[in-house]
Symmetry: C2
Subunit: 254 residues, 2 copies
């Protein structure tokens, strides 16, 4: 009998984002794999094995889960947010690509989740309301000059930009460099949203502008959205402003 | 008493994608607004008013819902996918921006949903596994030359590209033109995914290559994903191939 591996997106934060499809897959699994804090969000079932691992061992975690499924198990890999966005689905596919032929015979399925940029955007309005992109600022696996080239490309072409992996203790300067790079193309008044730990008790979302944005406002749990030249802010008395990007766009003249 | 307007993302397809947060908001609403087919996906509750409308009247629908909320109602606006991605949250924000001052005093909240590109990507692996963008191919509200400029910018900089509003009866040629434009930058063997009606009974997902992709393969319910130069396809005997974009990226040399 062939094993199964299901990669399950939990969404950000808490249970309010866990879809019925994800819940059913978690309940049905015989073994669960994942980064420790994500696994802790999943209720335990009697007899269900759990294999927590650290946040820098995606490849090894994927291999373990694939070997477990190969042995005939019904295995779930949990992922924060959406598993396909800078997360575990890519790591699992890469291991299948490079691994033994038998891994290609496994039933592999992926259950989508709410990715961080959607949750952060929802908190402030609709900043991703028109053409947008998602860029990882981590230069662990790609050169920094490529990241700068990509920032240039999208900022000059009018995309809203969601920045994943914006900052960490090991990568403290990248976000500041990115803001400086974007400032070559975008007005100082361009709206910037910092969304930290959305859906958790310590959630903090702030709206500022590109000239006031600073890399120290972000940590490992922060997603940053930088507006396009079309993005607008609606100020509201006694309420947080609404940020949105209209569906209409004029030609870019730059 | 001030009214409330909650814009609720249903995700694509069927109930498996409706988050607990979305479900609770739909249950609590006194009045529901939305495009007819989306409203039909929401179970009825006694005493809950329902206001269905066509798919080309986003502004008028948003105004109606805002007036209802202004009168003190607990109003929900339903949206397919995620309300913040080419959908109703932007339309509501635009009406608040241009409308009477009182609309800025309303409690407006947005509940994120699974957007089509995440659901389609999950069906085939992890094509959005690294830097990616989402572009609407509708030239109803922006000029076609801007769309071409944006396609040039992201294709030449190595982004995976998700195409929303790829085709409709009124816009039959745009997707073919987009493929031709992308072929200036991308190899003929670049993976292309057509994801139609994901999560519905008539779901159809196909994986092809840029040289074989044709605009007639898409309709109003189709989301298209075009890979980057890094995107890979894993062939599997008797199974659909897996498509993924690795986390590692080499410098773009073009």
């Amino acid at each position: 009998m062939s094993g199964q591996l299901t990669i399950v997106g939990l969404g950000p934060g808490d249970d309010r984002y866990v879809t019925p499809e994800a819940r059913a897959a978690l309940d049905a699994a015989e073994a669960l794999y994942g980064y420790g804090p994500y696994l802790e969000r999943v209720p335990t079932h009697p007899g269900q094995r759990r294999h927590a691992s650290g946040n820098r061992v995606e490849g090894a975690r994927a291999q373990e889960a694939l070997r477990d499924a190969e042995a005939g198990g019904r295995v779930a890999m949990v992922s924060g947010g959406d598993p396909g966005v800078f997360a575990m689905a890519t790591a699992v596919c890469a291991e299948i690509d490079q691994g033994p032929e038998t891994w290609r015979t496994l039933d592999v399925s992926i259950i989508p989740g709410i990715t961080a940029m959607l949750a952060v955007a929802a908190r402030v309005g609709a900043p991703l309301g028109h053409d947008f992109c998602a860029i990882s600022l981590s230069d662990n696996l790609k050169p920094w000059d490529l990241i700068e080239r990509r920032l240039d490309a999208v900022a000059s072409a009018g995309f809203v930009i969601a920045l994943y992996n914006a900052a960490s203790k090991a990568r403290p300067w990248q976000l500041g460099h990115a803001f400086n790079r974007l400032a070559r193309h975008l007005s100082p008044s361009t709206p910037v949203v910092f969304g930290r730990a959305v859906g958790r008790d310590d959630e903090a979302v702030t709206v500022t502008t590109l000239d006031m944005a600073h890399e120290t406002q972000a940590d490992m749990a922060t997603l940053v959205i930088v507006g396009s030249p079309e993005t607008r802010v609606i100020e509201r008395d006694g309420k947080t402003p609404l940020v949105y990007t209209p569906r209409e766009a004029a030609p870019v003249t730059a």
